[in-house]
Amino acid sequence: MSTPTSATGSTVVSRPGDPVITPALVAEHGITEFEYERLVNMLGRTPTFTEIGVVSALWSEHCSYKHSRPMLKTLPTKAPWVLQGPGENAGVISVGDGWAVAFKIESHNHPSAVEPYQGAATGVGGILRDVFTMGARPIALLNSLRFGPLTSSRVRWLFAGVVKGIGDYGNCVGVPTVGGEVVFDPSYEGNPLVNAMCVGLMREDELIRAVASGVGNPIMAVGARTGRDGIHGASFASEDLSESSEAKRPMVQVGDPFTEKLLLEASLELIRSGFIVAIQDMGAAGLTSSSAEMAERGDVGVTIDVTKVPVREQGMTPYEILLSESQERMLVVAKLGHEDDVRAILAKWDLEAAVIGEVIAEPVYRVTEGSTVVAEFPGSRLVTECPQYVLEPKESETLKSARGKDPLAVKPLDEERDHSWTLEKLLSSPTIASKRWVWQQYDSTVRTSTVRGPGSDAAVVRLRGTDKAIALCIDGNGRHVALSPRNGGRAAVCEAARNVACSGARPMAITNNLNFGNPKKPEVYFQLSEAIAGMGEACTVLETPVTGGNVSLYNENPQGAIHPTPTIGMVGLVESMAHVTPSAFQQVGDDIVLLGE
């Protein structure tokens, strides 16, 4: 047992039984030598196993955006109607009359590749929590899916499992799934994409941010108990899928939409009660990331005692408790003296709440096991000092030359002279064919507000109690982005804007999910930087700022990377229900007009 003394003052104890810190162990946690050195410098000593775990999660791509943040900073994020831009659980825009809409997109690509049903279901669960922790009631879900060709039985298994997972979760919670897209392309064969978007409605004055504050305020764990699920999900999501990821597969997270529904009601009640100052989902990297991020935003310290965390299994170590990704849990900063009020609200919904720590003045992030300190970092540096990488982009020669080719030089097939043959071929391609099989499994009409559901260009959901509605859509085109990343990035935003506008809405803002390959490869880095630049340009011109999003990198396997696939989730405002426009032919005899160039 070693007892190194930390730069922050406490004696940090390595637990008996913890593995010895070796270069191999550090590497296994996805921490580079450079990052490890930075960590040792920050601590002024060798980290403990628990600390290695914390850092591997917080400095993973998934939590830290270390390869994408510099590029994301270039995106436009402001407009008079933006109440909350990127950096919170979800973005929020005002839609007038004191109403606001919160929305966010999230990927669950890697978990869905391993266990499609639970992977997709827990993806929906996570995005719902991101929205209701802002104080908004979720009113709509959308999803964007990419799979390999349906001719493969494994793809069919993934596809059916993902669709069922999304449906079962959203249906049970009672939030309508109102739109989405599905594309089949060989580039996604080994790495399916599952992006889910949630939209919520609230009063502007009910907006709450995940910022810890108030020295002495108790930190509470709320909702489901902590088990050994998904330990290292965040670092798992930050590496290529390989044979060995099968073996080192973290214990899969199982979603419980019933508990989620209770947690949703309890959380909204808590937020309105005035008994709490902040609330955040324990999502990727669970307790670790939620607590460290809340502390960093509030510029305060926190201390957490893992023995106080309600657990589902015996004998869990601090490492496991900190990194568990058990679902349907929240971290809450309550107002001192209101712990019992918080417990009472949770109890009403048959849920638990436990005080597990406290906000402290000392600028440290401290984890104890009883009275023993097992991890301690100099406060916000844990979050802010994560290295950021700016690499040299380089376009792939293959793609460059592909773009140079003249499509008209491709010799048409003989059959193509028969237009009905061509039409039939097109209409029967799974990507173009009707997606009814998918959306019939999603409850699209619960909440009695779906004015246009699946099957229209954009979904339209009315805002009950007003004459307004919002139009929602999700769009992306990986093949276009692959061939021409900047144009593809622009086009994705423009397509979303057209879909929203056609429904009678003014495009207001976007959220986005960047699904790309390994950013350390110059060709992928090129795609990423160009696509982001293109998206930014389109958003600036259309005045649809980016209020948040998510980045999913390392969508690669030994067969290669996916098409670079930014997906755009857009929200538009329909000022009057009279503006809602259908996207189907209405009557025999109506004129058909082609607009545009």
């Binding site: 199982v254 019933f258 508990t259 058990s326």
Partner: protein, 85 residues
């Protein structure tokens, strides 16, 4: 060839969340069955199959579980019985 009736138990793997089991345990408690501890809910599958022997039937059903019936990521299975039908 003889026809065998094979019974299979498929249960959520230990350590994996079993929301169904928890809901049933809670319900049993509130119905007054206070002595109930853990509850696990799984599936019970009965497969009739032709095979040369009971051992062959068992081997074949094991293969079915591995390939289709049980989810290798989240479930464990057990062949509960193999009997001549």
């Amino acid at each position: 060839m003889t026809r065998f009736r094979c019974a299979i138990h498929i249960v959520p793997r230990r350590g994996i969340l079993d929301p169904q089991g928890k809901a049933v345990a809670d319900a049993l408690h509130s119905l007054g069955f206070g002595a109930v501890g853990d509850v696990r809910v799984g599936r019970y599958v009965v497969v009739d199959t032709d095979a040369a022997s009971a051992d062959a039937a068992r081997a074949s059903v094991t293969a079915m579980c591995e390939k289709l019936l049980a989810n290798p990521v989240t479930e464990d299975f057990e062949i509960a019985s193999v009997e001549q039908a």
